[in-house]
Symmetry: none
Subunit: 206 residues, 4 copies
DNA sequence: GATGAATGAGAATTCATTCAT
DNA sequence: CATGAATGAATTCTCATTCAT
């Protein structure tokens, strides 16, 4: 790491790599993968073009790094809750809260990513190599899978009805993403309550 | 210059326009907005490049036209069901079926569009005028709004609990999109049942 | 081919493709492969950058096309002489003349090519795919091989001593290239005589 | 700034320079001038990038130094033979052997150089000052000139026919280079014999 | 002296759009 | 109207060189 600057409290004390990642986050989020240009990223990061390529092989890997570094703490936190020794419904709600918080911060970037890993380039014209795409997908599988595991736990305990776990986990996930994306989430706790309430007890008045 | 040609005299000129739209549908769906090239579209449409620009101002307007023409029949059908004089729960399930069917056919293109209406020039470098973006968004508002209207109807009749209608309509919508996108929908009727079942009665065993 | 211009005697009446090839010839010859820039080529060809890529896939293929189109007439002429029903020594001298004339015109470009097809990128970092490189090499093998065939003919007839044909053909070839490159060739006939004289009768005074 | 350091105090500093030169030799030989990167050279030399620029002004001067240092011992040895008091034909063959041995070792690098001294900024965009280019050329002139001097000696002694000495020396030289480059030289003595045999006695059976 | 992070001037390539025929 | 050759702005990526430590 190069800390040339004498004032480590200044904004420039972040490592160049970090500055680039943060700028990339902003630009990718705002513009999407394609419309995001390296030029815009370096302008925001206040760095030279070559510097980006010192730290990252190419635009695609910069994007991937961004996703990976952002998702890791989230996944860890989610796993802890999923594996916790608590009532299933509490765990579910806690997980929904984690999801909401994460997507509230990252919805824009994740939308971009979801778009990029789509079937595109099924015919080889893709920019994202199949192998990279699979790495992205594994990320989703892991997190949504954790939701599924807890749902299954609830079913096994006789608490929940016997529904298709994979489908339901995806449904829950998609609702979370939709709400955050639609900026319907003013307060995480309220939204988490709202979501779990519908999923657990349904719309029909008893 | 835009030659919309609302009145096709010759059968030939109409079919050209149609050929282009169909090719554009295929290419945009497969490649996304950016990676879709006019060259690929004309190759598939078996027409000249200039011809595309006779019928459409530019790539973006071609895309918009595509979306508009595809969504119109769907919206009409949806509206008929929403306004029908039937039990609310039946209407809801029928609407879910319509949605599922529509997104089963058009998920790819709609995903592209959803992605594009974010980022389409949120700032100075816009490719799309804010006004166009809003037109896309209105489309969503209309269809999701119809879901909301029927939900409200159910609430008014005392059938459904008093939830946030807009949020719930979006949630329902997002689940539909997620299921189709994840290719979890083998059979529309089954999937419609699955979705409404969860939303109406919840996961918790009574 | 597009002949927009009204004056077909003008310099611009050559097809764009031809203009580009001629400009590329000049620039590659003068600068070598790497230092030749597409920008310089289009400046000389008085054309747009995209036009180059309409006619040629990339810089490398432009270069290859150049080589191929230039060498074809030469190879044909050489073959005719090699296969002619004439005395071996006459054929040899005629072939040397053809070689000299060809390399007098094309030495610069051929030098560039010879440099490019060298072992470079034996380790995968090459710009020229092995397969392309082999196509270049086949070209050399063919023309030098024709020299060899005629030498062999001379040996078979008992006219020439039993030397290593491949080596000798390459030696003869290299001398031709060296003389033209060193601009020692004022007059093709004289130079051809000089070369064959040494190769056939040696330096030692009898 | 150029720090040539003709007087190495520390053993370490000399070895750095030497390490760089050796790495540069390997990389330039394998990749050619342009494709050789300073990064690759320092990786092989196990040194820092700045260090290269402490010893050499730039990439080009590094290349030049390489050539100069490599050619010096060869030129000295060649001169000794040329000036020796021996029969002309013996001297010629000995010189051919020296050439073959030298180019067998250095063909790759010399080819690169030969290619670069053409094109090295024949016009305004020169990377290399004309003066530098001429220094390279003088090197060739000197060694080929020594061949010429011995040939002339043979002519003066009535041993050889009165041919154009400069042309013939270049021809001899080019054959040597061609054979080594084509990897036709398995054994220096055999190849030297083969070359002189053809040049001295010709192909025609007496 | 040695180092290597930072830099930016190029270079190749893509692709929407125009316009003469 | 249909066409497609021509175009150049925009974009990614490379790599020699600098310079603060």
């Amino acid at each position: 790491m190069a800390y040339y600057r004498e004032d480590p409290q200044g904004d420039d004390s972040r490592s160049k790599r970090q500055q680039i990642l943060e700028a990339a986050y902003a630009v990718f989020s705002r513009k999407g993968y394609h419309r995001a240009t390296v030029d815009e990223i370096i302008a925001l990061a206040d760095t030279g073009k070559g510097t980006v390529y010192n730290y990252f092989n190419n635009k695609e890997q910069l994007f991937y790094t961004l996703i990976r570094e952002r998702s890791q703490p989230f996944e860890t936190a989610l796993e802890q809750v999923a594996d916790a020794d608590q009532p299933v419904l509490d765990k579910l709600q806690a997980m929904v809260r984690l999801f909401l918080r994460f997507y509230l911060d990252n919805a824009a970037l994740w939308r971009v990513m979801m778009h990029e890993i789509r079937g595109f380039g099924s015919d080889g014209l893709s920019y994202v190599k199949a192998e990279t795409r699979d790495k992205y997908r594994e990320g989703f599988s892991r997190t949504i899978g954790m939701l599924g595991r807890v749902l299954q736990e609830g079913i096994d305990q006789g608490l929940l009805r016997e529904v298709n776990v994979a489908h339901t986990a995806h449904a829950l996930f998609s609702v979370i993403v939709a709400l955050t994306f639609q900026q319907f989430v003013a307060d995480v706790d309220t939204a988490a309550h709202e979501v779990t309430d519908i999923f657990l007890y349904g719309l029909v008045r008893k």
